[in-house]
Symmetry: C2
Subunit: 356 residues, 2 copies
């Protein structure tokens, strides 16, 4: 491996001072055209590029933002990351990715790594909410002293940083209303946990909406499960196995589209026809939603836009003094075929149901 050519090498060979080389590189106009050309020629000849490390050390900043999330290979997170990446790049800033994996909590290792790297800002997304509230606030405060901090978080989390909040309310309301409008009364929720400690609060939000519409909140209609396809398969099987067919829900809202994928597979395996025998609504509006059979109706939380806002605010906060505030991007429902909406309004399970 060759030694990297430095600004000294260029200066010496061009017969000028390092200051002049810098000026040429930074396109400082206070250089005579003659020397500029001379220096530029040497630079080109050696393909000289200033060292970022040295520049950062000098300037005290890294022109880099950190994005901390569990896994990029997750569909939701890679959309989020991708958006953050390009938004930062548009502003001449690079992005460093830190994965925490299943390690739900925000680890001290990550915090110190962020500090070590002198990041210009950090965006947290996903799963850190399960961290003990005290620890979390301590960590954020510690980081906040040195760099602006932003998070993409559930709406009910109050943190001392830039909070881009997921639209929990509509994420639950939209699917429930849609199903209600189509005549469904018995609606189940599968995936994640109904307990309030669940990362996203999606389950609890769902229950709220049921209550608002005076719909039955049958405990049999939600079994705790994971966040992937296998979880969906198992959960729906467990739920339906324990129920008389007359008590079956006519619709299922899932934690996310992956769970929905599993649910649909299991349902078909049981011989049900979708959406006739069961309506399904997923969440995240993933790329494959239009290609399931039937095409999956889903809620879009617009992670891309949230990520873009976060990056923009981070960049802003870097200049001005840091501030803490919250903003929300409305969720939207993307209606496809998995609820039979295209077939017109119908009345599911009305006959067996006791009107309350």
């Amino acid at each position: 491996m060759d030694r990297k050519v430095t600004i000294y090498d260029i200066a010496r060979e061009a017969g000028v001072s390092t200051a002049t080389v810098t000026r040429v590189v930074r396109k400082d106009p206070h250089v005579s055209e003659k020397t500029r050309q001379k220096v530029q020629r040497v630079i080109d000849a050696h393909a000289y590029t200033p060292s970022v490390s040295a520049q950062n050390l000098e300037g005290g900043r890294s022109r880099a933002l950190a994005v901390v999330l569990p896994v990029v290979s997750n569909l939701y997170f890679n959309r989020l990351f991708d958006a953050a990446y390009w938004e930062a790049e548009k502003n001449g800033c690079s992005v460093r990715l830190f994965q925490t994996r299943e390690n739900q909590a925000i680890s001290p290792e990550v915090v110190s790594e962020l500090l070590r790297c002198r990041m210009d800002g950090v965006l947290f997304a996903g799963s850190i909410w399960s961290t003990d509230r005290g620890d979390l606030n301590a960590a954020l405060e510690k980081l906040g002293k040195y760099m602006p901090v932003a998070t993409i978080c559930p709406a009910d989390v109050e943190l001392d940083c830039i909070c881009i909040q997921s639209d929990l309310i509509n994420c639950a309301r939209l699917p429930v209303r849609h199903l209600h409008t189509l005549g469904h009364r018995r609606i189940a929720f599968l995936g994640g946990s109904m307990h309030s400690k669940d990362v996203s609060r999606r389950g609890t939000g769902f229950l709220d909406q049921l209550r608002r519409l005076d719909l039955p909140d049958d405990p049999a209609y939600h079994v705790d499960a994971g966040y992937d396809m296998e979880s969906g398969e198992r959960a729906v099987l467990r739920m339906l196995s324990g129920l008389d067919r007359a008590r079956w829900p006519s619709a299922i809202v899932t934690f996310n589209d992956l769970v929905a994928l599993g649910v649909m597979k299991q349902l078909k395996k049981m011989g049900l026809s979708l959406p006739r025998d069961m309506a399904i609504i997923g969440c995240d509006n993933q790329f494959f939603c239009a290609y399931t059979d039937p095409a999956l109706t889903s809620v879009d939380l617009h992670p891309e836009e949230m990520a873009q806002s976060a990056v923009r605010e981070l960049l802003l906060a870097r200049e001005s003094s840091a501030r803490s505030f919250a903003m929300v991007r409305d969720a939207t429902l993307v209606i496809r075929e998995s609820c039979g909406a295209h077939l017109g309004r119908r009345g599911f399970g009305q006959t067996e149901e006791s009107r309350t």
Copy 2:
């Protein structure tokens, strides 16, 4: 924003020299237990962490690998990246992601950014092969002078770097043989391009295999298309529309699973029943393959293992002198239901076919 506390601050407050602070941080045993404790206390009190920029400047290396690819939000690439990330992390190395987007060529900007950041190694994956061979070699050579270079590339590409080659041969052979065994004779290929300039050479590899088995290579059986679901939908429609039903293929191999998704959707829309009326084989063995209807048979190129090998070799090359060589990870066929293999062997399209 507070000023970061430096090694000087610690040294002063602890009443020792910076050298001693470094020793404590690096756990150098040549420190008396007494001073060690004294210094450590100050370090903890201020949550001091050495600056990576300064360390890198000093040491002349970054302890970071670069991964260059088109987009992480692509399923194939995020699996690849994720594997590289954790393999590097296991070796105390961080990973920096560079996306080139649709920008197929390896741009001078990326090259100079890699140089600027003084990366300890770089892994290229995907799409740079379409770069003019001369330019590509020039870029790789330039980089190679300063850091080890690895690529995940088609097997027929000869480059002066560490080449982790995709198993082109089996990627084409496995699906064609499988279909042949099941009795299929008219096999089409959809997605990408059949032209040899296509990034992955998947189309040309497919044609080779057809010839080997003496199967008809009807030009109508492959229309150039893209790499996503929409491309699949359009391509299959275009192909079948132009053909008498008697001349229809009985099986379709697609460039990847995304294309397969589109093809399956379009086929169903046309009223065909899968796999009875048409067998499908995708490529990449994506997570959703087991959840399509019918479950999609697919080729796995094992991008994770390729990425891990690449990272390992990069780390090795960093120590010893750089070397250039090639290695291949065999592709495997994951058989599910989209070819009807679970239904036993059958003879598709035998009757209409003219035996040659």
